[in-house]
Each structure stands twice: as C-alpha cells, then as structure tokens.
Amino acid sequence: MNAISTFLLRRRGGKGWHWTDVLSYLWLAIGLFLMFGPIVWLALSSFKTPANLVEFPPTMLPLDARLANVQGYDKPLPLYRVKQDDGTERVLAQVRRVGLMAQMVDPANQGELVRVPIDKRSPEREVKLATGNYTEPLQQFNFLRYFQNSIFVTVMATIITLIVNSMAAFALSKYEFKGRTAVLGIILATLMVPLSVIVVPLYLVVNEMRLFDTLWGVILPTVATPTGVFLLRQYMLTIPDELIDAARMDKASEWQIYWRIVLPLAAPALAVLAIFSIMWRWNDFLWPLIVLSRKEQYTLQVGLNAFSGELNVQWHYVLAMTVLSILPVAAIFLFLQRYITSGIASTGLK
C-alpha cells in the first residue's frame, strides 16, 4: 500500500508540488480518461438491460428497477418513489398502469390500492448486473463456436505468418542475389495496396481453390504481410554476418542457420510481429465476412455483426460479446509485451 502511494504521488525532486508536477498529472489523467474511458464504459454497459442502454441521459452504472415481492401478487413488482399531495414521499409498488394513472400498493400494507398520476412517481433503481447479456448469446447463438473459430484462425494464421515472413526476411537480409532490392521494393510497394482494392480478385482466387466458406480461406490469403517481412528484415540486418559465417564453418546447413541461429536471435522482432498478427487476425472483419457464409464457420467479429439487423441492433448482446472478444487480445498483449522488453537479445559481440 505504501509502495503504491509513493508511486502514485511521485514528484519531481521529491519535495513539494512543482507546477510541472501538476501539469504532468493533469496531462496523464486526461490521457488515462481518453484511453480507458471508452473501455470502462463498454465494460459497464455490457451489464445494462436494453432499456437502460437507450435511456437519455445515459447512466454510467448499469441500473435496473428495484423489485419487491408483495403478498397477493405472483410476480415481483417494481418500486416507485411517489410524491404525495402533502409533500411527503413514500415508496410504493406498481401493480399496473392505466393510461395516465398508475395503480400502486404499499408493500407494507397490501390492503389498499392507491391511484397515482404517473408524473408524480419516479422509479426506484439499484445497480444490477444483467448477466443474461453474456449467458444468452453463449447458449442461444453458439458463440462458443465463434470463439473456437476465431482462436483457430488467429493461432494458425500467426504461426504461418511468422514462419513465412521470417524465411523471406532471412533471404532478403542475409543472402546476396541479383534483384534483391527489387524484390524488397515490390514487397514494400504492396504495403500501399489496401485490401479493398484486391478484394474481388482475391475472392475469385479463394473460390477457385475451393477455399470459399472455410477457415483456411480466411487464413491463407493474407499470411505473407509486407509489414512483417520488412520488420523482420530490418531486425535481421542487425544480426552480425560473422555469426552466420561461424555457423557455416560449423557445418550448419542453411536451414539450420535459419532455424537455430537466426530465428532465436530474431525472437524480439518475432514477438512484435506475433502481437500484430494476433491483433490483425482477431479483429479482422471484412475478409472473414466475405469468405464465410455458413453460421458454423463464423469468427467472433462476423458473429458480432449478426446481432445488428437491418432495423434493430441488439446492443446489449453486442457490448457483452465485444467485451469477451477483447479479453484474449488484451491478455496476450500484456504477456508478450513483457517478453519484448526483457527479451531483447544481448548479441554477445563487442
């Protein structure tokens, strides 16, 4: 506790509050709010009922009507705070509403029915988590299946991406051959071409290869990313050529040089690319939407889209499932980020 407070109240020079301290904390607070505000709102709102979600003004916390069991009535009745003519307030349970009047009953004294004009009452509410937002889609819409599909696509695509890209990067950084710069230039040029431009030919290719409506059709077309090749190549350029010469003198085959020398040394760059790849694949929407047509093949992001119909968006489900879809990426990011900072290779060379 003491360590946390000293960390949070750290100041320049340690004595007194300098104006730069105030400014720094203010700036950090704004940044924190801008970045975490939407996520906090998302997490809280995922527990709201549909009625609570569309309310204006919006509430921060998930609120729902307080209910009370009143003798003589089967269902729990919603409680309201009623302003009486003499100015006092009391809490009544509403039995039914007829036009502009509500029939209400005192939970403590069930005998008499009170007629109250509806503008004289305001609902009593409490924080209540609508966990149905989570359980219903998982049971009714087969969301676990979407989860599995997403995990499969992400893991397979990331593994293939790492292998394919690192092999290309190895060749482009460590071998001298004619046209090397030209090849690199062409690869980098494809960075400029967005998916939407090549989506139609890509679709035709996938279709011809009978990959339409399969997860492999989602995975394979984009495993070779120019970003990944470039990132890995730049890192591999920093691996000294003498190490590779030494491995050659040690009778290592070219494959062994790649697999046992270059790959382990490029681990920090591979981790960065892995994080990118996982985020791209997990959040990918357009391409899976195009390739996948059967519900059983949907990935999470496409599945989420199913909640928004033409006329009606089931925001409570969308928000809840969005939270679920964010969690794995956030966890992986935290894990791999630590690996990057600690894993930068000491080259062992002077």
Binding site: D245, A246, R248, M249, D250, K251, S253, S346, L349, K350
Partner: protein
C-alpha cells in the same frame, strides 16, 4: 593437420581488384601469419581459404585436392573470428557442441571433446554460461575452443586478439603459441600487428595492396627485407630511411660522406638507406653522418627512444641504451653503421656481396 597450397588467387569486388594472383604454400603444422596494413586483402585471403568467399580465379588445394568448389562446411577447417562470433543465445557448452552436432557425431563423443577442450582452455566452470556473461578473454577462449573441438585440418584466426586489452593480448599470445605446439596444428593467423607476427609465426607473409611482398621467417624478414615496405613494416620502432647517392668514394648523405664497401651500383645513382633505430651510435654533431635536432624523448627505463629531424629535413628515430640525458632541442650527431640496408629507386633491396 593439412597442407595448403594457393595458386594465382585473384579476387575482385566489383571493379576493385583486392587480390592480384597470390601464390603460397603452407606446410603441415606450420604457423603462418598474414600481416599487412588494413585494406591489404589479408582478411579476404583468409575468407577465401575458409570458403566463405569465392576467388575469381586461381586454385586452392588442401592436401593436394582442389577445393575451390567445396563449401566452407566441408573443407574441414575451423575459424576464429575477430568478434568471436559466439552464438549469444547458446551456453558455452552448446556453442562448443554446435559444430559437432551438425556433423552428426555421437553424444558421448561430443561430450568428451567438449570437456577436453574446456580443460585445455580452463573454461570448465563457464560451460553453462551464456557468452554475454563472459569477459573478453573468456570469450576469446571459448571461440578458440569452438575451433579446437572440431579437430580441423587448419585453424584460421582472423585478428583474434585485437579486441583484447594490451595486457591480456600478451597473455593470450603466449597461450596461442603454446596451443600451437601442443596441437601441432597448422595455423593461419591474420593480424596487422607486426609484434604478434614476429612472436608467433614460423613464417610471415607480408601483404600490400593484394600482393605478397615477402614470405619468410620472422628473422629473415627482419634481417633481409626484400623491399622498403617490408623493412618499414617489420620491426619496432620503424626503420629509418635516409636519401643518399652513390659516389666513387662511397655514399653522399646530404653533403656528408658515409663509407660503405662493396655496393654494386653505378656512381650517381640515388638510393635510400635503411637504418634500424638501435643500430646507430650517437656522436658529436659535426662527426656524425647525420645531424639531428631532438623533438621528442621517450624514456622507457631500459632504453631511451629519441625522435628528431635530421639536417636533411626528414624525421629520424633512434634508441640509446640506458637512461641518457637528452633534452628537446638538443643537437646530436648520428654515426651510421657500416652495414646498412640499401634500397634502389624502385624500393627493392640492393644485394651486397658481403651479405
């Protein structure tokens, strides 16, 4: 142990000629040192021998077999790199074993060889460490160990001591010499440091601009340099060069006469005399062949190194035994010995009948 022979090795990088036809024989068990200023092509030559670089022309033979088209891995040589090039992600043990694993050697044999090399180089306690946790000298030992375990035909060493501090360099130099004796291995060693070359080599190959200037034992090179370049490169402090011309009555050194017998040059030829710093005697200003104005005095204790300018305007260095009293600005005379190295206008050594 292998026997190596190079014939007319040439190498171009683009339009630049780096090696112009190198011929060389390296005998079994010999310690050969390539020495020369930076950029003379000595490292390139070593890499061509290793198979890491291809020569543009010429023939490389290992034990009589032409190996031009044999890959580095299959030539059976081992190399120690200037930066050591230890695999940073592997422990010392893995570094040593890597080359043996690649040749599919049985595990027990690998272990035996690693332990043997580790014992020999006193790195047993370090076997589990990563290269990043070793000091420069320890890394050097591991790099040598990695070559030893392979039991190569020839050890190739590319300036292996240049990353060490001066004190450690002397120690490692002695260890390398001892190692060469113990293994009776053929070694080819590249350096730009003539002291290393003199102390380690059986034979020295002096290279300049991609050409072999002279090959010979250290003392041969010291006593009978083939040309001005070798004479200036071997020996420390450097040999002094003095312009002179031949007259019927001896040599004319800037107006003063120096008697030299048996020189086979026509009178009137201009030559260069080569004089080692410790071969001269100090005389009175007017008696010596050269007059010198002292510009720097280095007291080393056992001897004194004196730098100065001669009356010809060239710089000159000499050593005097002991701790003589010299001051900057003093003028002294230099008596040249009767036996001096003589180089003609092209820089080649002029043979004398007495030598």
């Amino acid at each position: 142990m292998s026997h190596l022979s190079l014939q007319q090795i040439t190498k171009q990088f683009g339009a630049v000629n780096v090696l112009h036809g190198i011929d060389l024989e390296v005998r079994d068990g010999e310690f050969v040192v390539f020495v020369g200023p930076s950029g003379c092509g000595k490292s390139t030559l070593l890499r061509i021998i290793a198979g890491l670089e291809a020569s543009n022309a010429g023939e490389i033979r290992l034990d009589g077999r032409v190996v031009n088209d044999v890959s580095a891995a299959d030539r059976g040589l081992a190399m120690v790199f200037q930066s050591y090039a230890l695999y940073p992600h592997m422990s010392v043990r893995q570094n040593l074993a890597f080359g043996l694993e690649n040749s599919r050697m049985p595990k027990a044999e690998i272990e035996a060889r690693v332990m043997e090399a580790a014992r020999m180089l006193l790195i047993e306690p370090l076997l589990h460490r990563k290269p990043g946790q070793l000091s420069g000298g320890q890394r050097q030992r591991v790099a040598i160990g990695r070559a030893i375990v392979r039991r190569p035909g020839i050890f190739l060493l590319d300036e292996p001591l240049s990353n060490l501090d001066a004190e450690l360099r002397v120690v490692m130099r002695a260890e390398l010499a001892a190692l060469h004796k113990r293994l009776a291995a053929t070694m080819i060693y590249v350096t730009h440091d003539q002291t290393e070359a003199m102390t380690l080599a059986d034979r020295i190959v002096v290279l300049r601009d991609g050409r072999v200037e002279q090959v010979g034992s250290p003392l041969e090179l010291y006593n009978r340099p083939a040309n001005r370049f070798v004479a200036g490169f071997i020996g420390s402090p450097r040999m002094n060069f003095v312009e002179a011309s031949v007259t019927p009555a001896g040599l004319d050194v800037g107006g003063r006469r120096h008697p030299v017998s048996d020189i086979n040059l026509a009178p009137g030829a201009s030559i260069t005399l080569g004089v080692r710093p410790h071969e001269v005697d100090i005389a009175d200003v007017d008696d010596g062949t050269l007059a010198l104005e002292i510009s720097l005095v280095e007291q080393l204790g056992a001897e004194t190194v004196i730098h100065g300018k001669t009356h010809l305007g060239t710089s000159f260095t000499l050593t005097a035994p002991g701790q003589g009293r010299f001051a900057v600005g003093d003028r002294i005379g230099i008596a040249l010995p009767s036996e001096v190295h003589v180089f003609d206008e092209t820089g080649s050594s002029v043979p004398r009948s007495g030598v």
